[in-house]
Amino acid sequence: MSERAAAKAHGPRREIFTFVVGDAGYCIEIEHVLEIRAWTETTTMPQTPEYVTGLMNLRGIVVPVIDLSLRLGLGRAAATPRHVIIIVRVSDQTVGFLVQGVSDILTVEEGDLKPVPRVSLPATQSFVKGVYTLSDQLIRAVDVHQILPDRDGMAA
């Protein structure tokens, strides 16, 4: 995607995938990311939480799409064709995260993950497991397992 951040010489490292939600930087571990799709219209599901935008067709597989902005407590993303859907694999579930845009793939040291400062929204806090500070910006590490509590929880 672009050049990677200069790796430091010590400590276990990992690659993170950064994206933008509500004009702020977020990231998830790269191993969860399957692919990135352009925004597409989804089919609304009844009896589901509001943050489930609907279902999309990923080459014949039915994939639910989650509005990450709404899920993080930042309000509904006014989806435009410039939004993107990150196809994410968590355990054996495949879901789509609707985000404002994707940024970069970065290599960070695991030790760089700092606890979340106690200033953000409570909803955000429960879904963010820490932050990375990279030069001038703050990247929030999203806990994908929290985003998808479990199958029944999501569908309830």
């Binding site: 609304t44 009844p46 009896q47 014949g60 054996d92 579930q93 479990d150 199958r151 029944d152």
Partner: protein, 771 residues
């Protein structure tokens, strides 16, 4: 080793199928000598395989079983009713042993040691405790080896290619050479034979069933590649047949009956004294191979089928043969002679495999391969996607300006047809005959009857009906319940039956049939039928219905499907614990099926299960409501009406009912029931879908527009999403968008989806009852 082991157990399943089939035939008195032979071979093969895996217990039991069958075969013991019953028990026990071995408990504790020794003793008594010499594990093993060899293909055809039918001793053995007819057939196919879709291999296979067949081909007329006209057949076949006793020349002619016009053939009877050159050659060739004795005059002969004679029989014609084979590869398998050499390889397997042979596996039904189910499922998914892409493509083609040529339309039409056919064929891979399922049921019946102390038999019809594998698997439990119910509650005891003028032995009939795109399975007994008064009293007692409620016959019968219902006076071992019919119904419904029950007092009860052919596709009505596209399963759909043309009464608050000839039907707005919109649409502009569930409850679904009724590919939601109340699954429409398939029964059971209770008390009471 594990693979071999699994292979053995899978083979056992097939062998059991044949064994039970034979037993049923005997039981119904239509057994022949061949039936016993087939059963003997099945047991023998199981024993052989078990010997190879050192499953000693299995071997010794199978041996006793086999000995008993051998005696029946030789006419020492008559196959009367008690003997057949013993054979049934023995077969059940053998199947238990195999099952135990499959789980790796052969050397450990056995399922039912008492029965084992009892059966063993009975079997030994039957055969007079003798007969140890016949078929020790060594012979058995060679039988297994033979099976593998019979499948071997040798496409590098040699001339003279000699293939002998397995089983019968090749030379003039002690097997009564005088009684058998010997024929030599000269056969040559005309071009039309292939063009009409016939295949010499099939003819030879049919001949092979009439006796021991050896096939030689004269390919001297085959021109080198390049000058080769692959449309013109050039091969001449010489077939020598040692016919089975009683096979006359007419039978041979019958084989050629349908190809008389498109081939030349000549059948000559050969006097017994004259040596058959083909067989002599076989014998010679086989003699050259170590470890293959041929022409053994003994009863059970090691097989002579050894098609891979290759190196031993190289002839001067090798070059030409090689070219023929190449020709076949180049020209593909189009009509014409070129495909014949390739077919030759199959003849090898085919001719030696049919049930003529003594040691071959029991089923001559056809050739199968075993494929990992996951691969098939992947294929099915891919084909499903292909079908979707195809319809997406054709939709965007439709959007093109008219100037696009007609050629594209034709190509698109072909593509559509092909992908449809592809989908159908792929679905057919998963389809399996219900035979295996029915045979399991016959065993359940025997066991339940024994436990209940009643005498009953199972009559099955339509075992060849094919159903999706998952469906057959998931039908086991409901059918087991139903059979036990039928035996326990349905059939009366012997005294009552006699008093009612029925035969003492009860009959339970299990049938399967395809009916308008669905599979219908019925289970009927000739028992006492359902005691409606008792059912009613019970339902009232359990608070399932109001004491004064009037019920129609079918409503009353379907009370049995309610959870917690049992009419058995006392709880028996078999059934009557109050779980049963409701579980049956839930399981059938989860398969997308319907179950209904009908009963005539004193004459019996029939339970009918109707299932979709496959779980991957279903017929659905595509509708639009509240701006969303929804699929309503066609199985529940009874009729459709335009609201403007129907008699609709508004009750209050926008809730309406549809007036039908026989009563009022509540109208439910689909969009509102699903929660898409808070308001109901303007009813006058809507369409009504009249739906009816298994219990006969009717509801009219109001939708904005009906679009189309068509087959949709079912895409499960559970994997990525979980269950959503009211939604059964999703599907992908022609434009690539996803549409939801509603689960009507679940949807109507959701709170707030049905009209106010004070208006439709009766309807709601029904609705509540089937929850």
């Amino acid at each position: 080793m594990d693979d071999l082991r699994n292979g053995f157990f899978q083979e056992c399943d097939e062998l059991f199928e044949g064994l039970v089939e034979g037993l049923n035939a005997l039981d119904e008195g239509r057994g022949s000598r061949e039936t016993i032979n087939a059963m003997f071979r099945a047991v023998h093969s199981i024993k052989g395989g078990a010997g190879a895996f050192k499953l000693d217990q299995l071997v010794s039991f199978a041996h006793a079983f086999e000995t008993a069958l051998d005696d029946i075969r030789l006419g020492k013991v008559a196959a009367d009713a008690p003997v057949v019953a013993l054979l049934f028990t023995a077969s059940d026990h053998l199947s238990d042993l195999v099952e135990a071995a499959r789980r790796g408990r052969d050397r450990g504790r056995e399922a039912d040691p008492d029965r084992a020794s009892a059966v063993l003793r009975a079997l030994k008594a039957l055969s007079g405790g003798e007969g140890d010499a016949s078929g020790d594990p060594t012979t058995a093993q060679s039988a297994v080896v033979a099976e593998f060899e019979a499948i071997k293909l040798d496409l590098g055809l040699d001339d003279p290619a000699v293939f002998a039918g397995a089983g019968h001793p090749a030379g003039a053995g002690g097997d009564g050479a005088d009684r058998t007819g010997r024929f030599r057939i000269q056969f040559r196919a005309y071009r039309d034979l292939f063009e009409t879709g016939n295949d010499p291999a099939l003819l030879f296979r049919a001949l092979g069933e009439l006796g021991a067949l050896s096939v030689r081909v004269d390919d001297s007329a085959v021109a080198p590649l390049g000058q080769f006209d692959w449309c013109e057949p050039v091969l001449n076949w010489t077939l020598d047949l040692v016919a089975k006793p009683g096979v006359a020349e007419d039978r041979l002619r019958e084989v050629f009956e349908f190809v008389e016009e498109v081939c030349s053939f000549e059948i000559k009877r050969i006097p017994a004294a004259q040596s058959l050159s083909g067989q002599a050659e076989t014998a010679d060739l086989c003699a050259m191979l170590p470890g293959h004795s041929v022409g053994d005059a003994g009863g059970r002969t090691p097989p002579v089928a050894e098609p891979d004679l290759g190196d031993g029989a190289v002839s001067g014609n090798e070059r030409a043969v090689c070219e023929t084979t190449c020709g076949a590869t180049t020209c593909g398998e189009t009509v014409g002679q070129a495909s014949a050499p390739a077919d030759e390889g199959q003849i090898i397997g085919a001719v030696s495999a049919p049930p003529v042979s003594e040691c071959a596996p029991l089923d001559g039904k056809g050739h199968t391969i075993r494929v990992d189910l996951q691969r098939v499922d992947r294929l099915i998914n891919l084909v499903g996607e292909l079908v979707i892409s195809e319809s997406m493509l054709s939709q965007s083609m439709g959007a093109l300006p008219v100037s696009s040529t007609a050629e594209i339309d034709i190509a698109m039409g072909q593509l559509k047809q092909l992908s449809g056919m592809l989908q159908e064929s792929v679905m057919a891979i998963r389809a399996q005959p219900v035979r295996g399922l029915f045979q399991r049921m016959s065993r359940i019946l025997r066991e339940s009857a024994r436990q209940a102390g009643k005498s009953a038999r199972l009559v099955t019809q339509g075992e060849a009906t094919e159903v999706d594998k998952t469906v057959t698997e998931r039908l086991v439990e409901p059918l087991t319940h139903m059979i036990r119910n039928a035996v326990d509650h349905g059939l009366e005891d012997a005294d009552t039956r006699r008093a009612r003028g029925k035969t003492e032995r009860g009959t339970i009939t299990l049938t399967a049939a395809h009916r308008s795109g669905r599979v219908v399975i019925t289970l009927s007994d000739d028992g006492g039928g359902i005691d409606r008064d008792k059912v009613r009293a019970m339902a009232v007692e359990k608070g399932l219905i109001a004491p004064l409620e009037t019920l129609s016959r079918s409503e009353s019968d379907n009370l049995l499907f309610l959870s917690g219902f049992s009419t058995a006076g006392e709880v028996s071992n078999l059934s009557g614990r109050g779980v049963g019919m409701d579980v049956v119904r839930a399981e059938i419904q989860s398969l997308g099926g319907r179950v209904t029950l009908a009963s005539v007092a004193g004459e019996g009860t029939t339970v009918t299960i109707s299932l979709p052919l496959t779980l991957a596709v279903m017929e659905g009505m595509i509708v639009q409501t509240a701006g969303e596209t929804i699929v309503v399963p066609a199985t529940v759909l009874r009729e459709t009406v335009l609201a403007s043309e129907a008699v609709v009464h508004e009750v209050m608050n926008g809730d309406s009912v549809l007036q039908m000839r026989d009563g009022l039907v509540p109208i439910v707005d689909l969009g509102r029931a699903l929660g898409y919109s808070a308001e109901t649409g303007p009813l006058a502009a809507q369409s009504l879908l009249l739906i009816e569930d298994d219990a006969g409850n009717r509801t009219a679904l109001a939708v904005d527009r009906m679009i189309d009724q068509r087959e949709v590919v079912i895409k499960g939601l559970e994997q990525n999403f979980g269950q959503v109340p009211g939604i059964a699954a999703a599907t992908i429409l022609g434009d690539g968008r996803i549409a939801l398939i509603v689960d009507i029964e679940q949807l109507l059971a959701l709170p707030g989806s049905i009209a106010p209770p004070e208006v439709l008390q009766n309807a709601e009471a029904r609705g509540a009852r089937h929850v």
